[in-house]
């Protein structure tokens, strides 16, 4: 019966007022990303501190968004930066153009560049989104919530505990 079906709908919505919301309140509660999540790039070093990147520009060639700029230079005996013959004197990624496809990762013959887990990349200026080599080599900045996490945290969504 149609009218009773409508009334039943009213019952359903009313019942849900008293349930715990399943919202995950983002800046306080950050859902863990999946292992193969493609976030902001990182450049890596060998265990001895030398950079893995040899400045071959294959990543820049593979990049469909054309957001990587590499300027290579020769390693010398007194100024040795990378393990190979050459190193990247300038390595810049324009993250406002990057589409996070991960082709640079695939193109790299030395696994020097990988896509990390950081996704909080907002800046007030577009210039700040051009990541230089130092920034890509450094550990990512920890972003902290602006408000009290206890007020907003939702660790276990209610839909998982109740049904």
């Amino acid at each position: 019966m149609q009218p009773f079906g409508t009334l039943k709908g009213f019952g359903v919505t009313f019942k849900h007022i008293f349930k715990q919301p399943i919202t995950q309140q983002y800046p306080e509660f950050k859902r863990p990303v999946y292992p193969r999540f493609r976030g902001r790039h990182r450049l890596h070093r060998h265990a001895n501190g030398l950079e893995k990147c040899v400045g071959c520009s294959l990543c820049a060639a593979a990049c469909p968004a054309d957001c990587i700029r590499v300027v290579a230079d020769e390693n010398t005996a007194e100024h040795r930066v990378s393990a190979g013959e050459r190193y990247a004197r300038i390595y810049e990624i324009n993250l406002s153009r990057c589409i996070f496809c991960g082709y640079c990762e695939l193109a790299c013959p030395f696994d020097a560049i990988t896509l990390g887990n950081e996704f909080e990349l907002s800046e007030y200026s577009r210039d700040d989104l051009i990541y230089t080599k130092d920034m890509l080599l450094a550990e990512p900045i920890k972003r902290v919530p602006v408000q009290d996490p206890d007020l907003y945290d939702t660790p276990i969504p209610a839909y998982k505990s109740s049904s």
């Binding site: 409508t6 709908g9 009213f10 359903v12 919505t13 009313f14 849900h16 007022i17 349930k19 919301p21 399943i22 919202t23 309140q25 408000q147 907003y152 209610a158 839909y159």
Partner: protein
């Protein structure tokens, strides 16, 4: 000093009416602001969300944040819009919405420091007609505004508004006819007094009450009758081309129309401000809150009607039922 005590309606000095009017307008505006918050909160909880909870404790400052945002926004203007009408229409809509509340009684009236203070801003003998007249006038704000902004979405939205509001106004007016017949007066103050003497009209006029609520939902174009602003089809309906506080005025008039309609339902069917133990205005607010909750509840629960269903429901269901109700009431009033 005779001008100080010069009395208007029921021995109330004119300046007290003025103060009352200012207070009531501000209360209605405050109620509108927090109705938006409560609506978002309640809808959120019904959909397993929190609703706004960031601005202030429990999101209590959200309406103020919204207001500041709307006022600070650029008042853009479509190049082809008809200037005067485009600017004037939101004001017309908001003005009529605010005015209507003045005839709704919310208290028994008191004597404070020797002055008579009435529980209403104005007691007009034809209050009910005034409410419907102002409501119909307010529709011009929606129709003209949508037409004047020279956009196809706006025009379609205002045409839908026009068709829907005109159709449902008939059923709305007919549904209250039973109450008018039973009370024998169009004055809302008299209707409340008559209900106190007999019984709340929701019991003998239950059909009228249901028709009034349904037609009222359509009149304020709220879900499930929100076709004039069906987002999926029309972007936003008649106020597509409006932004900033002009849009705010439209939104305000819609919500205030809803508050007024609920107030009217309370007055006509639920005994107005009468109730045991608690003072009149408190009872009025309580009943108002229940009805407003009902409207929010309906919005979360029911999906939007199709246009032909809307028209069929209005003309083939509500109108005959309302007419029958009025006729039967008339017979019973004469017979008993």
């Amino acid at each position: 000093m005779s001008w100080l005590v010069a009395s208007g309606a029921n021995g109330e000095p004119w300046w007290i009416s003025l103060i009352e009017a200012v207070i009531v307008i501000n209360l209605v505006l405050f109620g509108f602001a927090y109705l938006t918050l409560i609506e978002r909160k309640v809808m959120g909880r019904m959909q397993l969300r929190y609703g706004p909870n960031r601005a202030g404790p429990y999101g209590l400052l959200q309406p103020i944040a919204d207001l500041v945002k709307l006022i600070r926004k650029e008042s853009f203007f479509p190049a082809e819009a008809v200037d005067v009408l485009y600017i004037f229409s939101p004001f017309l809509a908001a003005f009529t919405a605010l005015t209507t509340f003045s005839v709704i009684p919310w208290g028994p009236g008191w004597v404070i420091a020797g002055y008579q203070v009435n529980g209403y801003v104005a007691d007009v003998p034809i209050a009910l007609l005034l409410v419907f007249a102002l409501g119909s006038l307010g529709i011009y704000g929606f129709i003209v505004g949508g037409w004047a902004s020279d956009s196809k979405y706006s025009l379609l939205g205002s045409m839908r508004t026009c068709a829907q509001l005109v159709s449902y106004e008939v059923a709305l007016a007919l549904s209250v006819l039973g109450v008018v017949l039973m009370a024998g007066s169009l004055s809302l103050v008299d209707v409340v007094a008559a209900q106190n003497a007999e019984v709340w009209y929701v019991i003998p006029q239950f059909v009228g009450f249901v028709v009034f609520l349904l037609a009222g939902t359509a009149e304020t174009s709220r879900a499930p009758f929100d076709l004039p602003e069906a987002e999926q089809e029309l972007v936003a309906g008649y106020h597509t081309e409006y932004g900033g506080m002009r849009f705010g005025l439209y939104s305000m008039s819609e919500y205030i129309n809803l508050i007024t309609l609920s107030g009217l339902a309370v007055t006509l069917f639920l005994g107005g401000w009468h109730g045991p133990w608690l003072p009149g205005p408190v009872w009025f607010l309580l009943k108002l809150a229940v009805l407003l909750f009902l409207f929010i509840w309906m919005r979360t629960t029911l999906p939007r009607l199709r246009y032909d269903q809307l028209m069929r429901f209005g003309w083939k269901v509500l109108l005959p039922v309302a007419t029958l109700n009025a006729v039967v009431t008339a017979f019973l009033v004469v017979a008993l």
